[in-house]
Point group: C2
Chain length 268, copies 2
């Protein structure tokens, strides 16, 4: 999906909601465990319930790899089922030497048909560039992540600035607003505003709303632009909002609708 | 595999050779393409030809993911076939928020039964710790990688030193010589010696010998210890040494034997 279509989808729906599909069979309602492919069946339900509220889906590969080849099969089916009307993020946090990153790009862009993949910047240019060579596909580069460990290295400072600032600056030479986004955690609202000033036109993927403590309002106030420029992700706050008891479908839908309603107020 | 067994295997074989299994179907002899599972059949041949020379195998997950669920199936079969007599490195360069890294640990240590997994440090402590919670399993943390992009961020310097030095220092608080190794590229022999002085007892996984330009002698002269302390990886220089013509099996075996012979001279 290209930038123009992504922005059009966002404006039409008045939503910048991304739903994380980190499906854990220890947390889904027990009836799904009876299915041939419980992960896919649960995802299918979540997608059906949230598709009018979300513009993007973000399966995290760890939750599929935990089940080996069968988990990868569920991931393939999930991405097929999402289809072309939503932006698909393979949250994989990959990155390797050039030759090898090229194979990952093939895995996520050709074999899986995702629109984008999250990439870790530690290994530098040749670990990122192979992903940028695919037309209408995106790299979402880790800048300032939402977790507590983000303090360990991402805030190291040399004469040219903090490490995450240098990741943002240096990577501007590798990609453009048409194929490069950044991950910035909602748990750092003050830094979100600063990062928006560094990159006024790039999309930001913002995890950390809900279970991790950030809010839509903090994120949008800090970084919403005329093109929106945001994809805000919620995972546990939506897909496990239902619990196991009767009416879980309604609670999942309501959780997505509630975030959508908050988002609508930013579109005039 | 624990440290004691790893060292015993190394000393018995007089080898610290790790063979990379980055199997690319565009590069294997055409007869393998006729097999039901070409990747596994090629790996099986490489393992049979090199097992007396190598102490470790390192499949890189990118080469399997490029083929989707079927590639993961080949990876599972390959790891089963290697068995318990060799140290198995899942070269995956993973790392995510704690909850998610825990799922990756399950994928590589339970579902795949690898001994170790390579981990990217960018996301800090909670992205690494979940892997360290498994007994007799190892994290191999990226420190100074072999690729050209290693210059982009790994050499950034603040008052506490270069980024890769800080990754090494900080991670000492998270793991020990019994569950934590580091990736240091053979393309940086001067830094290898320096890193060995920082961590005299940790194992180092050293890629970059052969196709990438490093040599066994440079690496061993810089960082060989009384416990060896090294796993030196060669991939393309071994698994594609055979080419497609007659006698390729002998050429693969000879390529591994040649590195093994160089390594033997370091054991008295």
């Amino acid at each position: 999906m290209n930038r123009k279509t992504l922005i059009a989808n966002i404006k039409e729906k008045k939503s910048f909601l991304c739903v994380g599909l980190d499906t854990d069979l220890e947390k889904v309602p027990p009836k799904f465990l009876e299915a041939d492919d419980p992960i896919f069946e649960f995802n299918k339900m979540v997608i059906d319930l949230t598709k009018d509220h979300a513009v993007a889906y973000k399966p995290n590969t760890a939750f599929y790899e935990a089940y080996g080849a069968s988990g990868w099969n569920s991931l393939e089916k999930t991405i097929d089922y999402i289809g072309n009307d939503h932006f698909i993020i393979a949250d994989a946090k990959r990155g390797d030497i050039g030759n090898t990153s090229g194979r990952y790009a093939r895995a996520f862009f050709h074999t899986l048909q995702a629109d984008s993949v999250t990439v870790a910047p530690y290994m530098g240019i040749d670990s990122v560039s192979p992903f940028l060579a695919f037309e209408n596909k995106w790299v979402i580069l880790l800048a300032l992540t939402s977790n507590s460990g983000s303090q360990d290295f991402q805030l190291l400072k040399d004469e040219d600035g903090l490490l995450f600032e240098q990741v943002i600056k240096k990577s501007q030479e590798w990609g453009s607003i048409d194929n490069l986004m950044y991950v910035v955690g909602a748990t750092h609202p003050e830094q979100l505003k600063h990062i928006r000033s560094l990159i006024p036109d790039h999309f930001l993927l913002v995890p950390g709303v809900g279970a991790q403590g950030g809010t839509i309002q903090e994120v949008a106030d800090a970084a919403f632009t005329k093109d929106c420029g945001l994809l805000v992700n919620s995972t546990r706050g939506i897909i496990y909002a239902g619990g196991n008891g009767e009416g879980y479908q309604e609670r999942i839908k309501n959780a997505a609708a509630e975030l959508h309603n908050q988002m609508k107020t930013y579109f005039t």
